[in-house]
């Protein structure tokens, strides 16, 4: 049988998810020993993993989870409590299982001394409870030899559908003295891995019996879950042994045995003969196989499907191409519309001119020709109208498609947030600190491509909070604070951005100490440090090699910190902000774009080249006279509704050309907001809004200040995406 790759992959995928929930529930159980929901969930998880591992012959996982299950059973039965050290052991077991699964994924077997010591620790817990674990086989199994009423036998026969050949095989085996059984397993529909349950039973049965037939077949079982499955077996063992070996309490609700003897075979033979006679002219309400399968799937209530992420990426690439093609059509339409308008004007003038001048001697003839000409053009114009409608339809459809595909890329931030409680717990323990870790907004969705890269910066921030922010319980007490510190990790969506906040109620950053460190480090000239505002001093923590930690610890304080966080977040197209108040705490705010794949941008021209300015960073576009612009202290500035707007000429910034060089008296100015202040960007021409697929540049080979990425526009040309924040901060040194 091909238990194969599919089964292995299914098991591993489910098992990884289950292991995650194991950690979550262990932590919540540690906080609240009475939480029955958690203990049941942990028990169920351990049991499910054990079952799956046993089927696939992953003994190292099976053995460890088996022992965990024993211990958890004691907790469930309130014979032991789950104190801190026991939770630690179970959490370490979870880590070991995770490692074992990772190795199994690579077709390796994980063997370690730690596993053995953990097993011993689990055994010790069992011993300390002074109780022996009840054996599973002692659990009550409904095992009734049912009365073989004729009706019941007919139903059984209808179910197992034996043919003459199979009946004669059974008869032969019975004659040889083999024990032949029809074993009916009723599987638990609510069991997490119910799909693999029949395969697990099959694997166990194979050890003790010869499986002759399975109804439904294994192929069918691979596709759909069936509650009742019959295994026809021949064996030397008795039914109690078979039952003991194959009764998997969580996944099997009931096992029924039917002993097959020659009498039963004869009865089945007579049913077969009767059935063959009835076949002629019989009308049976049968559904087409496909229809049946569909019904089954509906019954199972499948609402989600698993899909490899590269397929979603491929789909997104295609949508990207579609959007480029759509933009090309829209651009073409704009041209057509202009041509159409001027054409209509010309035609109108031409026709009225012809009728006025009466140039031809045969006016009637010419009039007819003109009418034909007008009709032809009217046909052409209606074609244009048609084209416009279709373009609008295409725009609507592609926008919906884009939204739908983008939503496929979005995953809840829970994916990374869920990894933190355990880390915080372990780190706090190492540092002898008491911390309450609160997570909010786990349902906030974020682009999948960002998720993985976000973990490292976040762990860095949280580690800093724990190490430098949160004080020791004694220190907190002395400051009149609760002994337990609080770290809050929060996510929410705000407009086109995802905001992640990590805050603590610790000691905050001491501005005076920052100043002292800045002077000591000599990274910045003394005069500059002296002139710095508190806000500017706080921003120093983002400087490379600048650490405020009094001592270097195992966890942080080596000066490789917030600058790396800032760099990483900026690589993801985001921004980091840090605020702090002495003895009140600190807050790091990360602002990330909702998606990294497609943006809406304003297409502009600078020195004959196309540039894209993200719409999200634009406030408004104005046309100004060049003489309204003035240089103050070497910087361009102009007055917009009584507000002085610092301005950057992109022509000058990118090409070193003076914006006054060309003859136009007026110039376009894109007003953008940066750090709550308005700035202007001068461009030569504004073409219009476009949806573009961002094509990241190979940062190893291409590095241009002020350009964040590129995109292909409608005509196939390349346009550069302007990094507005970087340009403004580099020109106006806003940091």
């Amino acid at each position: 049988m091909d238990l194969s790759l599919d089964l292995k992959n299914d098991f591993l995928t489910e098992a990884f998810e289950l292991v995650d929930s194991l950690e979550k529930n262990l932590l919540s159980l540690e906080k609240d020993q009475t939480n029955e929901k958690s203990i049941n969930e942990i028990f169920r998880v351990a049991h499910t993993i054990k079952g799956g591992a046993a089927t696939l012959g992953y003994n190292e996982i099976k053995e460890l989870t088996h022992l965990m299950e024993d211990v958890l059973d004691l907790v469930r039965k309130k014979k032991i409590t789950l104190d801190h050290s026991r939770t630690n052991i179970l959490l370490q077991c979870k880590d070991e299982i995770e490692r074992m699964l990772l190795e199994r994924e690579k077709d390796n077997v994980y063997i370690s001394e730690k596993t053995e010591s953990l097993k011993k620790a689990l055994e010790n817990i069992k011993k300390s409870a002074g109780l022996s674990i009840e054996k599973k086989s002692e659990q009550k199994v409904e095992n009734v030899e049912p009365e073989r009423k004729s009706q019941e036998l007919t139903e059984i026969f209808e179910f197992i559908k034996l043919n003459n050949f199979e009946l004669s095989t059974l008869s032969e085996l019975v004659s040889k003295g083999e024990n032949v059984f029809l074993v009916f397993y009723e599987f638990n529909e609510n069991y997490e891995m119910k799909d693999v349950a029949p395969f697990q039973v099959y694997a166990l049965l194979n050890d003790v019996a010869n499986v002759i037939k399975i109804v439904p077949s294994l192929q069918e079982l691979e596709n759909i879950f069936v509650k009742k499955v019959c295994f026809i077996i021949s064996t030397k063992k008795n039914k109690d042994e078979i039952e003991r070996k194959t009764y998997l309490s969580e996944m099997v609700n009931k096992i029924s045995f039917y002993s097959v003897n020659l009498d039963l075979i004869n009865t089945f033979s007579s049913f077969l003969g009767k059935k063959e006679q009835e076949t002629v002219g019989e009308t049976i309400d049968k559904k087409a196989p496909g229809e049946k399968k569909e019904e089954e799937i509906q019954k199972r209530g499948l609402t989600t499907i698993r899909i490899e992420s590269y397929k979603v990426d491929e789909l997104l690439n295609l949508v990207g191409e579609l959007i480029i093609a759509k933009s090309a059509f829209t651009e073409l339409y704009d041209i057509i519309e202009k041509v159409e308008n001027s054409f209509r004007m010309c035609l109108k003038e031409f026709l009225s001119g012809v009728s006025k001048l009466n140039l031809s001697r045969d006016n009637k003839d010419n009039g007819e020709k003109n009418l034909i000409l007008l009709d032809s053009f009217n046909d052409l114009f209606s074609l244009f109208d048609n084209y416009r409608e279709n373009i609008q339809k295409l725009t609507r459809i592609s926008s919906s498609l884009q939204e739908s595909v983008m939503s496929l890329r979005m995953v809840p931030i829970q994916m990374i947030f869920s990894r933190f409680p355990r880390l915080v717990r372990d780190m706090a323990e190492k540092m002898n600190k008491k911390v309450e870790f609160v997570i909010e907004g786990v349902e906030t969705e974020i682009d999948k491509s960002i998720v993985d890269d976000l973990f490292d910066p976040l762990i860095h921030i949280i580690r800093n909070s724990l190490d430098h922010g949160i004080e020791s319980p004694e220190e907190r007490k002395a400051l009149g604070k609760p002994e337990t510190g609080r770290i809050v990790l929060k996510a929410y969506q705000e407009g086109d951005s995802i905001v992640i906040e990590a805050s603590d109620d610790g000691r905050g950053v001491d501005i005076e100490m920052l100043k002292k460190k800045a002077l000591e480090s000599k990274i910045i000239p003394r005069e500059l440090v002296e002139r710095m505002s508190p806000k500017e001093l706080v921003a120093l923590i983002f400087l490379p090699g600048f650490s405020t930690a009094k001592k270097v610890t195992e966890l942080s304080g080596r000066g490789v910190g917030m600058d790396v966080v800032k760099k990483k977040i900026e690589e993801l197209g985001g921004r980091v902000n840090f605020s702090t108040a002495k003895n009140k705490g600190s807050k790091v705010t990360i602002r990330l774009p909702l998606t990294l794949a497609i943006i809406q941008a304003l297409l502009v021209v600078v020195s004959g080249m196309h540039f894209l300015i993200p719409i999200a960073s634009i406030q408004e576009t104005v046309i100004i006279y060049k003489d309204e612009l003035n240089y103050i202290d070497g910087k361009l500035i102009f007055n917009l509704r009584d507000n002085l707007i610092p301005t950057v000429s992109l022509k000058e910034y990118f090409y070193g050309e003076n914006f006054t060089d060309d003859k136009n008296k007026r110039i376009y100015c894109i007003i953008s907001k940066f750090k709550d202040k308005s700035y202007g960007l001068l461009v030569d021409e504004v073409i219009g809004e476009q949806d573009v697929v961002i094509k990241p540049l190979n940062s190893k080979l291409v590095n241009s200040t002020g350009i964040s990425a590129a995109a292909i526009i409608g005509n196939g040309n390349i346009a550069f995406i302007v990094d507005v924040d970087k340009i403004i901060s580099s020109v106006y040194k806003t940091g």
Partner: protein, 171 residues
Amino acid sequence: MSQEILNRVVLEEAEHKVTYKTLFSAIIFMLEHSLFAINLDYLQEIIFLKDIFRVPNTNERLLGLINLRGSIIPVFSLKLILGMEDHLKGKNIIKGEERYILIIKYEKDLLGFVVDSIYKNIDVTELNYRGNEYIKNWSENLLFDGIILDEDKEIFTISVKGLIGYLTYIK
């Protein structure tokens, strides 16, 4: 020459051929009047020069970006890298030039190099190749892997690894 001697010569020649196995295949191209080669293993494709869009504020050796079937690829001037003059330098949009772009793939990097013309393919054997050690004797230049001896010509083989290292450095 007796039959015996002739047989020995033929045998020796056959043995000789077996000894000089192919090390790699290379493509030879022209820059101005000089020939250079590049290992075919790294060559993804050769295309006619298409529109190159210069990226502002970048090193002049980077001529710009091209749109290769929806992918954006950086294109460099091999002439400028090797210290020759290239009239394509500094142009905002390069188009309508009768030149070629070699598309190179090295590990995860995909990039293009503009060359004047393609000369021919060649199998490089131990016989017609002098590796890096030979070059090191008289040059520290890491941009070359070795020299191919073809007829009466000595052709420098471009080191793709060295080239990418150099481009990363000057970026």
